[in-house]
């Protein structure tokens, strides 16, 4: 039996090229030009810092943007960080960076904003051009769904593009505040409370406030502590929200599962006893089993009797004759 879908499927388009997207998708055009613009700003910054070799991430970033490479953002990010740390391209620690160590400087803000904006644009463009989500898992007998899902442009410039910029700006401010806290909070387990606010900016001191506890470790501890607290609160809230929004079937399943976990060993014992009893069920006796062959047995007995009688009779006659 064959079922055919006659309606033309317009929601699973083929992957368009970048030029095709330029002409068709206004949102895609915005992302593309934003990404390229971001690359230009980054190119200027890197060229000032390190010269021509430092432009390698820019080349990869632009090519990836135009050629739709999926691994480009990670590669670009790694290369970009490498050239930020080592502008000359050589991993030598004593090379001085042109980027000053400071807090809340405009150059830092612009550089970070532009880089993250490029990443945002790149990933959103991948959704429009390459695939918006992983392919669905196929089960036995199901139709092989290998065509990629592309995000159709159902959002306008105002509803998607501008909010992203606003969110990025807020994120940037939040991160600056977080970084400020990381550099001013001192963790000293000998004191109470163990966390202190220090007026002196930590990055100006290469080593530490205290000789036995380096600044980097302070920052790492504050980072881990802050991340753990935030992730725990948010995770717990989402977990509770998820419980609150359970479907009836899920809730039944959960209660049954808890009940099963509590009584699992006892139920397992019962199941084994049941299996043991089934194995030891009384079988029909030999006579009952043989009853179905009774007719054949009677026939055999009759034939044997006849044979005995015949042979016995013949023997008896021969005996008399002799």
């Amino acid at each position: 039996m064959t079922v055919r879908i006659l309606t033309t499927d317009t929601d699973t388009p083929k992957r368009p090229g970048v030029l095709e997207m330029l002409t068709q998708s206004s949102l895609g055009r915005c992302y593309l030009f934003t990404g390229l613009g971001a690359q230009c700003i980054l190119a200027v910054a890197l060229a000032q810092a390190g010269g021509l070799p430092a432009l390698a991430p820019i080349v990869i970033g632009c090519l990836g943007l135009l050629m739709r490479w999926t691994a480009t953002p990670i590669l670009f990010l790694m290369l970009f960080v490498f050239f930020l740390a080592f502008p000359e391209g050589l991993p030598v620690w004593n090379v001085r960076s042109d980027i000053p160590r400071s807090f809340c400087r405009v150059s830092d803000l612009i550089l970070v904003f532009v880089t993250v904006a490029y990443l945002v644009c790149y990933y959103r463009m991948l959704g429009l051009l390459h695939d918006a989500m992983p392919s669905s898992r196929t089960s036995r007998g199901s139709s092989q769904d290998l065509s990629p899902v592309l995000r159709r442009e159902n959002h306008s410039f105002e509803s998607e593009y501008i909010p992203i910029a606003a969110v990025l700006f807020i994120v940037l401010i939040l991160v600056q505040i977080a970084y400020l806290m990381m550099n001013h909070l001192l963790i000293d387990m000998r004191a109470f409370p163990p966390v202190h606010w220090v007026d002196e900016f930590a990055t100006r001191h290469r080593m530490s406030w205290t000789p036995e506890f380096p600044v980097a470790l302070h920052r790492l501890l504050v980072f881990i502590l802050g991340t753990t607290i935030i992730v725990s609160i948010v995770g717990f809230s989402l977990w509770y929200w998820g419980l609150n929004r359970l479907q009836p079937q899920e809730a039944r399943m959960m209660i049954r599962d808890v009940s099963w976990r509590e009584s699992r060993r006892e139920l397992n014992r019962q199941a084994k006893w049941r299996a043991w009893v089934q194995r030891r069920m009384p079988r029909p006796s030999f006579l009952v089993e043989m009853r179905q062959y009774l007719q054949w047995i009677l026939w055999v007995v009759l034939v044997v009797l006849i044979l005995i009688l015949v042979i016995g009779g013949i023997s008896y006659i021969r005996f008399i004759m002799e």
């Binding site: 999926t70 990670i74 994120v171 990381m182 079937q249 009584s263």
Partner: protein, 638 residues
């Protein structure tokens, strides 16, 4: 359920590394790198929070509505080869809305083939997501619409969720109305024939054709007196006319397991149903009586001949039900069934397989030695010291140790020998228990437990059912078969001659023979029996059927046998066969030739009893059958 995509994992890893590197190693040197890492990380967290809040607020409160229409009416059953419209509406009760939703609606045919359509959009409580599409079923049977699969993702593609809204709906697909091949003829083609719907029987009746002359009996109407013979013989002679009775036919449709298995796309039973429906419609439009008998390996279902419209609808429904039969999973081991059923469960019940509602505790994977026969060995090893402490054994043991071991370590060695079996027993228990954590076995255990819990939920049973399905193999096998058959998952086939595994059982032949005999016993006059049957295998005896057909012929009934062509029955070359291609082609050719020989043998056997054999897929099959109707109409036999 997977939440973070590969893209998300890579991004998280890269950004975390940069953040840590920046904070720990470069924080004193440059603020840009830690700021960059942290900003990207916070943006990632923002996307996660946004996605999670949209999912929790909206995705759990979705409502699915589906309407199916054919010819602008809500459909209770569908007609094959006629387009129908499916309208899917997805709405949210409340929540923040879902900016990017991909919805897949799947139609499952009665043979388990799946056809899906996909659409996408954004969904808010105010604006539901709607989609309308047109589909068509080519053959009779049944379609099942399980529900819609919903896939969610954030715009960057970092997070992904899949859920399934179940709204199972099954619709019969009735055979199509007669096409050009079976177009009914409403005029007499030969004047010699009686009007459509009638044929003459050499019995006294009320037609216009003279049958015989006989002596007048008191009570005969005077108008029947034949005056000329009366004058010639000088006694009253009465005319007798022939009887005109309607043409009756009985269709026998094979719905056995062999006919249900689709070898090349369409199962034979669907073709039989389509053909039988066309014959019935054509014959009934000629005012002929048509009955139906559907037989399988176990029983037969009978519908007496009639010619009303409601009877035609009954016939088409019965044929569609027969065509919708699903061979299903015949037999398999629990592990095989677990492997087949689990992907289906993941597809249709994703939320019921989440660890938070369907857990797999750590202790589940431990394989206790008490469940195996090794327990006796462990018991013996553990109890070894008790035996060894017997004075006689101890004395001999120490003597043995003394002779074997160097001086000075005698008692230490003795103690070691006494403890060693217990250590071995412990090691045995450990190895036996750890086996459950090995990847393959752990996967099987995990899947089986989750399926057991799912079956318990579907059966609305308690926690005991989980343990029951977990421990009891026959119950698990039976429930898994029911689960797979309910979702129309076909038996997986492997190997090039897999179709041969479905042998035409002798049972269906016996059932068919009995059905023909019953039809003969119920017959009123000369009837036409049209048998549509799957080509039997070489070793299937046809004697019961031949006997029944001889009986029908002896009672002056006409019999027609319709069998599919061997070409249609030969399976196509499998794409992923383990056998090399030339061998597969040779085997396919050999199978086709074998079937042709069998068809010739069957034709010869039935020709000997006066039964013509027609091929189901020939273009003129229906017209040939109709010619047989006309011949029967014109024949005057008692």
């Amino acid at each position: 359920m997977k939440v973070l995509t590969a893209r998300g994992w890579w991004f998280l890893l890269a950004v975390s590394l940069i953040s840590l590197f920046g904070i720990v190693a470069l924080g004193w040197w440059s603020a840009t790198i830690p700021l960059l890492g942290l900003t990207a990380l916070v943006w990632f967290a923002y996307e996660w929070l946004k996605f999670a809040s949209e999912y929790h607020s909206t995705a759990t409160r979705l409502i699915l509505q589906r309407t199916i229409q054919q010819s602008h009416r809500d459909a209770v059953a569908l007609w094959a080869q006629t387009p129908f419209t499916v309208r899917v509406t997805l709405s949210a009760r409340d929540g923040l809305g879902l900016p990017f939703v991909v919805v897949e609606d799947e139609i499952v045919s009665s043979q388990g083939t799946r056809t899906a359509t996909r659409f996408q959009g954004s969904l808010t409580p105010e604006t539901p997501l709607e989609r309308e599409y047109v589909a068509r079923c080519d053959d009779p049977g049944m379609i099942r619409l399980e529900g819609v699969q919903i896939r969610l993702s954030d715009p960057a593609g970092f997070f992904y969720r899949r859920l399934f809204l179940r709204a199972p709906q099954e619709l019969l697909v009735l055979p199509p109305l007669v096409d050009t091949r079976g177009r009914p003829c409403s005029r007499k083609r030969f004047n010699a024939l009686p009007p459509p719907g009638l044929h003459r029987v050499r019995r006294p009746g009320n037609s216009n054709e003279l049958l015989d002359l006989r002596d007048y009996r008191p009570g005969d109407p005077p108008k029947l007196i034949a005056w000329r013979p009366t004058a010639r013989r000088d006694k009253l002679i009465t005319r007798e006319f022939e009887s005109e009775v309607p043409v009756r036919s009985q269709l026998f449709v094979d719905a056995s397991e062999a006919a249900q298995s689709a070898v090349s796309g369409i199962p034979p039973v669907a073709r039989f149903a389509q053909l039988a429906s066309a014959i019935a419609q054509t014959a009934m439009s000629n005012r002929d009586y048509v009955g139906l008998t559907i037989f399988d390996d176990v029983q037969s279902e009978y519908l007496a001949p009639a010619r009303s419209e409601s009877h035609l609808i009954r016939i088409t429904r019965l044929l569609a039900t027969a065509a919708a039969r699903f061979p299903g999973i015949r037999s398999a081991t629990p592990n095989e069934l677990t492997e087949w059923a689990y992907p289906v469960a993941v597809k249709y019940y994703p939320e019921l397989l989440q660890p938070r509602v369907n857990s797999r505790p750590f202790g589940l994977f431990w394989q206790p030695v008490s469940d195996s026969r090794l327990l006796i060995l462990v018991f013996i090893l553990m109890s070894w010291p008790l035996f060894a402490l017997q004075p006689y054994i101890l004395e001999n043991l120490s003597l043995f140790v003394e002779t074997v071991v160097a001086h000075g370590y005698r008692w230490q060695t003795l103690i070691a020998i006494m403890i060693l079996p217990s250590l071995l027993a412990g090691l045995l228990c450990l190895i036996h228990g750890i086996r459950g954590f090995l990847p393959r076995r752990a996967r099987q255990i995990s899947r089986r437990k989750q399926l057991a819990a799912l079956y318990a939920e579907l059966d609305q049973a308690g926690a005991g059912a989980i343990e029951h399905y977990w421990n009891d193999d026959p119950s698990f096998v039976e429930r898994s078969q029911k689960f797979l058959n309910g979702h129309r998952v076909p038996q997986p086939r492997g190997g090039i001659l897999a179709s041969q595994s479905v042998a035409h059982s002798a049972g269906s032949i016996a059932i068919l023979a009995r059905a023909i005999q019953a039809a003969v016993s119920r017959a009123r006059d000369n009837e036409l029996y049209i048998i549509t049957m799957h080509l039997t295998d070489d070793d299937t005896p046809l004697d019961p059927l031949l006997k029944a057909v001889r009986l029908a012929r002896a009672r002056h009934h006409h019999v027609l046998l319709l069998i599919p062509s061997p070409h249609a029955e030969t399976p196509p070359l499998p794409l992923e066969s383990s056998a090399p291609k030339p061998f597969a082609a040779i085997a396919q050719e050999a199978q086709r030739k074998c079937r042709e020989r069998r068809l010739d043998a069957v034709r010869t056997q039935f020709a000997a009893v006066g039964v013509p054999l027609l091929r189901v897929d020939a273009t003129d099959t229906i017209s040939s059958v109709m010619e047989q109707f006309d011949r029967l109409r014109g024949v005057r036999i008692r």
